[in-house]
Amino acid sequence: MYVAVKGGERAIDNAHAWLAEARRGDVSVPELSLAQIREQMTLAVNRVMAEGSLHDPDLAALAIKQARGDLIEAIFLVRAYRTTLPRFGHSVPLETSEMAVSRRVSATFKDAPGGQVLGPTFDYTHRLIDFALAAEGEAPEAPTAPPLAERTPHIAEFLDAEGLLQSEPEGGETPSDLTRQPLAFPADRALRLQALARADEGFTLSLAYSTQRGYGRNHPFVGELRVGMVAVEAEIPELGFAVEIGEVELTECETVNQFAGSRTEPPQFTRGYGLTLGHCERKAISMALVDRAMRWKELGEDDVGAPAQDEEFVLSHCDNIQATGFLEHIKLPHYVDFQAELELIRQLRREAEAAQAQARAEAQAAKEAAQ
């Protein structure tokens, strides 16, 4: 018999107190400030904003500090916080073509207007640990050049103008919102993009990689990858018109995918799209590949049974907060469930043993009768 018990309050309080102490670490080492995290752990802050689905660098920095650097825990904190915020409305769709780019590269066109702007990138570094960073030094300063005056149009525009790129269908002005209604299948592209924009980077990366290795191959080129600041405009009900209410850094990736044509579409290039809050380019590229893989139905391609093509599989498992919540709950007390399992196993064992004993006795009896 199992008797329900209460307890652990003191243990839990003390565990949390130790957590607080452990979070602080060695007190002879100066404490981290939020500004330090925000300014020097920028890409961690960006990931927490993208997957927390809330743009607020100070909040993300605080979440990272509270989570002791566990980014999924930090994302969890941000997600929980955002549910407490009243929704004031939505922005006018962000104009990424007006982005003030700090980075813009194309793997397809060398001489695109606006040029190849590398920005602050890890690309072309040698990935050698830089021991000089272990010592405090002078703040480095980047070289400058006269700012480029020319616009930086989307590279897709050029292929689009020639009719060689599948055009993007205009859609309903009010996209479905998975923070308002539970996810239902089949999911439209707006819902898929929303889910991917907040999806776990690792999961999205692995799925994208699986398409490259042949599980739903779609031959992507990075038509364009751009990172920069975009103004946020929203309609203000009190004023009755749209005004700028802020600016955010975004990463956008457009892939151009080889496409031989299908029963319904002529031979042309197709596209995949990735967009994230903050500078998260690995995520944005992965998102574009997975977005493209999930578009097989509308393009009349074959379902080759690849995981990345299966929107129900992808969208149901891409959220790291749902995943970690369900996964980690199994470490919490399951004493009653397990007691029931234990009783069941014991009973099955008793029955099996009794059946075996009976079979042995019957065999023995049969043997004796034969003699």
């Binding site: 939505h90 040029g115 702007v117 700012p147 998975l178």
Partner: protein
């Protein structure tokens, strides 16, 4: 409004402090129509940058509205969670409709605009320095 919306909260507070404008803590200057409240605005993108809109994720915003003792109404929708920033932005919006407009412009808006411009310029200048210059390698055979 856009200059105030994206201004760093500490910078706006410091400029206000240094100006001749009335402090928001001074009693009797205004009444709240809507006390500053933090919330979120859903940011939308477009599929393929040009297609159908989708919900990208939210951004924190603080809004508020007040009426000066002289009757002018000021609104604020500012980025972030700083309520004092929203207060100052709403106050600035209202004062822009009064005789204090020139002081708001010279002491607050114009320095904020200049600083935002300088930040954008600094980024653009660094980006320009990382623009790739391609050059063709001439082969020797025909030389």
């Amino acid at each position: 409004m856009s200059t105030l919306a994206r201004a760093p909260a500490e910078r706006l507070a410091a400029l206000w402090e240094a100006s001749a404008l009335p402090s928001p803590e001074e009693p009797g200057g205004y009444e709240w129509l809507r006390r500053p409240e933090s919330g979120a605005v859903m940011l939308r993108g477009r599929a393929g940058a040009v297609g159908a809109p989708f919900n990208l994720g939210e951004m924190t915003v603080t809004r508020g509205a007040l009426r000066l003792a002289s009757g002018e109404v000021g609104h604020a929708w500012v980025q972030g969670r700083d309520k004092r920033k929203a207060t100052l932005a709403a106050l600035a919006d209202a004062l822009m409709q009064t005789g204090a407009a020139r002081e708001v412009e010279t002491a607050i808006l114009s320095p904020l605009r200049e600083e935002a411009g300088a930040r954008a310029e600094a980024r653009a200048a660094r980006a320009a320095a990382t623009k790739v210059e391609f050059f063709t390698m001439v082969r020797g055979e025909d030389g």
